[in-house]
């Protein structure tokens, strides 16, 4: 081997070791910024050489349109087989998998026992698939090299699993009611947080917490609708927990905080207390149109201000001051963007449905927003790689000019098929699109078409109708500063994904799909 190759390899290895990153929680951090700050291996220069490293079919049984969730990555786990980088992958049918990221080998599988007995003959629905729906969260244990994965199983119990072996290290704990739809777990100061949506299983749409030290579980209901930001609740450095409420009215007089952003904080008795709330001025109109506020908000600190960014299916962004969400009336943001998409004010197939990314580049605060459907006629950016019709990513700089905050459009990506999630790693924006059939309305069928003569127009988000029409997911790597496409998975991914996402760490990008395949692309 030539000497220079050995040097480069050594440097790469060194870098991978000394600058390695863990991806222990969905969205990269407590704030769900989607910014993988410590990533050093991927660069804008080398990502074009990314290739499929491996793909594995995990024995995860889908439920409705759900199957597997974005993996969590632990870079150095002391396993019986030695030190390994591990991916922890949750499957909807109460499975947890430990995968060696170097080889794609499945090192263990944990299938949770259950205290919940499904109704005989019952089935779920797309919105309420049943099963394990929350991305777990991982935390280091007291012993170096040991990690614990926390998960909520279908029966609503909290599981604590040894990342090295897949063994449950303590008995399952009562946490929340069974058969709900909790979203990605977040762990802060020894407390597990989540929120549930859609009223699935009769479980309240609420914040849920579990204090690991006292084993106290708490609930806070904003009296809103489903709380379904893809990355689960976000937590700022002060421990304040933020999330969205959809599908209900906003009326503070009646203490109803639907279609808004709500923050809570744990008190000394381990009960969550309301801190603040915000709803846009058209919140109730949005509710009527089913334009849920459905995107995990991102708390970020920039230029000495404590900010919060939120968005929704309506497809405009709000910038809020975390010291007073929406000002005195709770309805006045620091800034509201024009529409990025969804000129049709559609409740399906258009809008923001996935997860944003916020990252800082020197003195520039970036916000990358993935969206579904056509870009809005209102959105113009200095750099436009397309005028997307199926979805894409719009990038903004969050700026303060003359004392006023604003979203300044920066670039617009290529066209995508329902852009879902963005992660930014070392200047590279990784974006996955889902390729799913996202329609929720029964189409008209002309009388002379095959099987024709059907008046559509009614609501149907059912899996049986949508699965056959789903396509393929694609992973993209873009220059996070310009939106230029650096790499695409092309047609290498053969299935689609629904309410899942991607993971990036240590020179690898992971994407699970509906067919139970976990893809690993990378430059290592």
């Amino acid at each position: 081997m030539p000497r220079h190759t050995l040097v480069v390899a050594a440097l790469l290895f060194s870098g991978a070791t000394l600058s390695a990153t863990d991806y222990l929680t969905e969205g990269a951090d407590n704030a769900r910024t989607g910014w993988v700050k410590d990533e050093k291996i991927f660069t804008t220069s080398n990502v074009a050489g990314m290739k499929l490293l491996w793909k594995i079919k995990l024995p995860s049984t889908p439920r409705e349109m759900h199957n597997m969730f974005p993996p969590l990555i632990v870079e150095r786990v002391t396993t019986p087989q030695g030190v390994r980088e591990m991916a922890i992958v949750a499957g909807v049918t109460d499975d947890l998998f430990g995968v060696d990221t170097a080889s794609g080998e499945t090192m263990w599988r944990r299938h949770f026992d259950s205290t919940y007995t499904p109704v005989p003959g019952g089935r779920g629905s797309t919105l309420c698939p049943g099963g394990q729906t929350a991305v777990p969260v991982v935390a280091p244990a007291s012993t170096p090299g040991k990690y614990t994965a926390y998960a909520v199983s279908w029966d609503g119990r909290l599981r604590q699993v040894d990342v090295a072996t897949g063994q449950e290290i303590v008995p399952a704990e009562k946490f929340m009611p069974a058969n709900g739809k909790p979203y990605a777990l977040n762990l802060h100061n020894g407390v597990i947080y989540t929120a549930s949506a859609q009223g699935c299983g009769g479980v309240a749409n609420a914040f849920y917490s579990f204090d690991l030290a006292t084993r106290k579980a708490a609930v806070f209901s904003p009296a809103g609708g489903g709380m379904w930001g893809r990355r689960g609740v976000a937590i700022d450095s002060a421990g304040i927990v933020y999330f969205t409420t959809g599908d209900a009215t906003f009326n503070p007089v009646t203490r109803s905080l639907g279609n808004g952003l709500v923050s809570v904080k744990m008190d000394a008795s381990k009960q969550m207390q309301l801190v603040d709330y915000f709803a846009p001025k058209n919140a109730n109109w949005m509710y009527r149109r089913d334009l849920d506020i459905n995107v995990t908000p991102i708390p970020l600190d920039f230029r000495g201000r404590k900010l919060l960014v939120g968005t929704s299916k309506e497809c405009r962004m709000w910038l809020l001051d975390r010291d007073g969400l929406g000002g005195e009336d709770h309805r006045t943001p620091l800034s509201t963007s024009p529409l990025l998409c969804n000129d049709q004010t559609a409740y399906d197939e258009q809008g923001v449905w996935g997860a944003m990314a916020a990252w800082q580049d020197g003195n520039t605060q970036w916000l990358l927003v993935p969206f579904w459907g056509p870009v809005s006629r209102q959105f113009k950016a200095p750099i436009e790689h397309s005028r997307p019709t199926g979805g894409g990513v719009g990038a903004y700089k969050i700026e303060e000019r003359a004392g006023k905050w604003q979203f300044t459009p920066a670039w617009l990506s290529r066209n995508m098929d329902l852009a879902e999630n963005v992660l930014v790693a070392n200047g590279v924006a990784f974006v996955s699109d889902s390729g799913e059939d996202a329609t929720q309305t029964v189409p008209d069928v002309a009388w002379d078409a095959p099987g024709g003569g059907r008046m559509g127009g009614s609501l149907n988000s059912g899996s049986a109708r949508r699965i056959p029409g789903s396509r393929r997911a694609t992973l993209y790597a873009l220059d996070a500063r310009t939106g230029k496409e650096l790499w695409s998975s092309g047609n290498q991914i053969t299935s689609w994904s629904h309410f899942s996402g991607l993971t990036v760490a240590n020179g690898r990008a992971y994407l699970p799909t509906f067919d139970g395949t976990l893809y690993a692309f990378g430059v290592r």
Partner: protein
């Protein structure tokens, strides 16, 4: 200068300081037929936002304008809940097309062309555009006041709790009574969430299913209907405008038909002679069968029908027949009553010296249907719907003194009626407040004003007394009434701008006007109200880009 006219639809909406509208998915009332209902009252009984009180203060303003492709457009019919959440208006156009617009935004959802227009080959047949149609209930339901307030799900507001160590979250706060997107409490087993996927929309609504026209959220009343220039009846899906049933032959080609009405799976319209090969007739087509749609007609053998038919609350078809030379057994200057299914003649009114000048409308007085028509001598006649003209077929129940100088030139659908409503406390907790009916009014436009007549009881019979006359508004079209507010549009014909006025229904006092907002004139009766919006359609010079919309200085969906 050659001016190609296109059409602008303009909507004004309550948008500020209105609490009720904002509660829940209260999507607001529908405009279910041309002239509002099967009785052609032009009356929107209840609206959560439009009221005398709210129109007396700022907040009603232009929300959007939208360009549509046809030079002339009809009054719309509206439907709530297309795709569950969209309130829409279906508008027919003179270019042999229909368009669907989103009532919230003005976005054109689709435009459906039925092919090249056959034009208007006969002089006198142009300039009239009939509306599209949708199923409508025979009689409107008793109005209920909109619910005020509105809490969150469960109504108890935000709250939290903490459980004992090791016991999980407290059950009472973690179980919910409501579902996700409109779902009932979910059973354990995964079926929950929106819950609508099964029952509400598994296969979509059956084509042709005529509902009660309630228009509640997520309940489509049945398909949309439109008649094309070739006389065929099209049955369309709301989502795309596609024909979901095979187009059915119905009228002679190039006929001039009136605003159709669909009740109990029968679509009614009228044709006048002299346009195409159509006779002066009333037509009905059964739309209940997807493949075979039998049609029947009744020929006047005399005058042409004036405007559209109306239905009594018991289903009798009422048509006004204009002047003409009646053959033996024929009718001219008459009001006729026809059987709902067969269109066989049941009854008629005609009297020497009386020239019928408007289409009929029907209202109830002492629980009896009363037919009102305007006549050429400037009066309004009231007829007993159960016995038109009495035993001699020539005696009206009552008549107003002259309200317009003869010979009065009323528009075919000149008349409108409404009744003052007052919200009463609900009969029981949890039930909506009911509305108590008060003074009945009859409205009609004259050459430069709106005249309001009071319907009063005289020995058990209705009679008409002067009420109020608006200030000089210029030439106006038939007003519409929304929740005690009269909307009258000064047409601005032929070259001035139209102005929309809101008048207090009981006094005629001007509450609001559109001022200079509208930039062109109204070609005819093209106004409707739904979802707290009063919408009108007007022609204007075509822009280089068609089909656009914009909001005026604010987020358009704020209301």
């Amino acid at each position: 200068m050659r001016i190609t006219r296109s059409f602008i639809v303009l909507a004004a909406c309550m948008s500020a300081g209105v609490a009720v509208w904002a509660q829940g998915r209260n999507i607001g009332p529908e405009w279910q037929a041309a002239s509002a209902d099967a009785q052609r009252t032009s009356w929107q009984r209840i609206d959560p936002n439009i009221s005398v009180e709210n129109l007396s203060k700022p907040g009603f303003e232009l929300q959007w304008t939208t360009k549509l492709p046809s030079p002339l457009m009809s009054e719309a019919v509206t439907v709530n809940g297309v795709g569950l959440f969209w309130p829409v208006s279906l508008i027919a156009g003179s270019t042999n097309s229909v368009s669907l617009i989103d009532n919230d935004t003005g976005n054109v959802q689709w435009t459906r062309s039925f092919g090249l227009s056959r034009g208007t080959p006969t002089p006198g047949c142009s300039g009239m555009v009939a509306a599209a149609a949708r199923p409508v209930a025979l009689a409107p339901p008793a109005p209920a006041a909109p619910r005020a307030g509105g809490g969150g799900r469960g109504g108890t507001g935000y709250r939290g709790a903490v459980g004992a160590p090791g016991e999980g979250v407290p059950v009472e706060l973690s179980q919910r009574g409501g579902g996700g997107r409109g779902a009932a409490a979910a059973p354990a087993g995964g079926e929950a969430g929106r819950g609508a996927e099964g029952a509400r929309g598994r296969e979509g609504a059956a084509p042709g299913r005529a509902g009660g026209g309630g228009g509640g959220l997520g309940r489509l009343p049945g398909p949309g209907y439109a008649i094309a220039d070739d006389g065929s009846l099209h049955t369309m899906g709301w989502l795309s405008g596609k024909d979901v049933q095979k187009p059915a032959p119905f009228l002679p080609a190039n006929a001039r038909w009136s605003d159709p009405l669909v009740v109990d799976n029968v679509l009614y319209t009228t044709t006048r002679s002299g346009c195409g090969s159509a006779p002066s007739a009333v037509w009905a087509i059964n739309v209940s069968n997807e493949t075979t749609k039998p049609a029947v007609s009744w020929r006047s053998n005399g005058g042409s029908p004036i405007g559209a038919i109306a239905l009594t609350t018991t289903g009798t078809v009422i048509a006004a027949i204009g002047p003409g030379q009646a053959a033996a057994g024929g009718y001219a200057n008459a009001v006729v009553a026809l059987d709902q299914k067969t269109l066989t003649l049941k009854d008629w009114f005609t009297a020497p010296g009386i020239e019928i000048a408007s289409a009929p409308l029907i209202f109830q007085h002492n629980d009896q249907d009363v037919v009102a028509v305007a006549v050429k001598d400037g009066r309004v006649l009231l007829l007993d719907a159960a016995s038109l003209g009495g035993a001699n077929h020539a005696t009206p129940l009552g008549a107003a003194s002259v309200v317009a100088s003869p010979p009065a030139a009323f528009a075919p659908g000149a008349l409108a009626t409404w009744q003052e409503l007052t919200a009463m406390p609900p009969a029981a907790e949890g039930q909506p407040p009911m509305m108590l009916g008060g003074q009945r009014w009859l409205l009609l436009p004259t050459t430069n004003a709106v005249v309001a007549l009071k319907v009063v009881d005289a020995a058990g019979k209705p009679s008409l007394q002067p009420g109020w006359t608006s200030r000089n508004l210029g030439a106006t079209d038939t007003p519409i009434i929304v929740n005690n507010v009269v909307f009258a549009a000064a047409s601005g014909r032929p070259r001035s701008r139209a102005i929309l006025y809101a008048l207090e229904g009981s006094t005629g006092k001007e509450l609001w006007s559109s001022g200079t907002t509208m930039t062109s004139y109204l070609p005819g009766r093209t106004m409707w109200a739904s979802n707290s919006r009063c919408t009108s359609a007007r022609p204007t010079a075509r822009s280089t880009s068609s089909g656009f919309c914009w909001s005026e200085g604010k987020i358009v969906n704020a209301c």
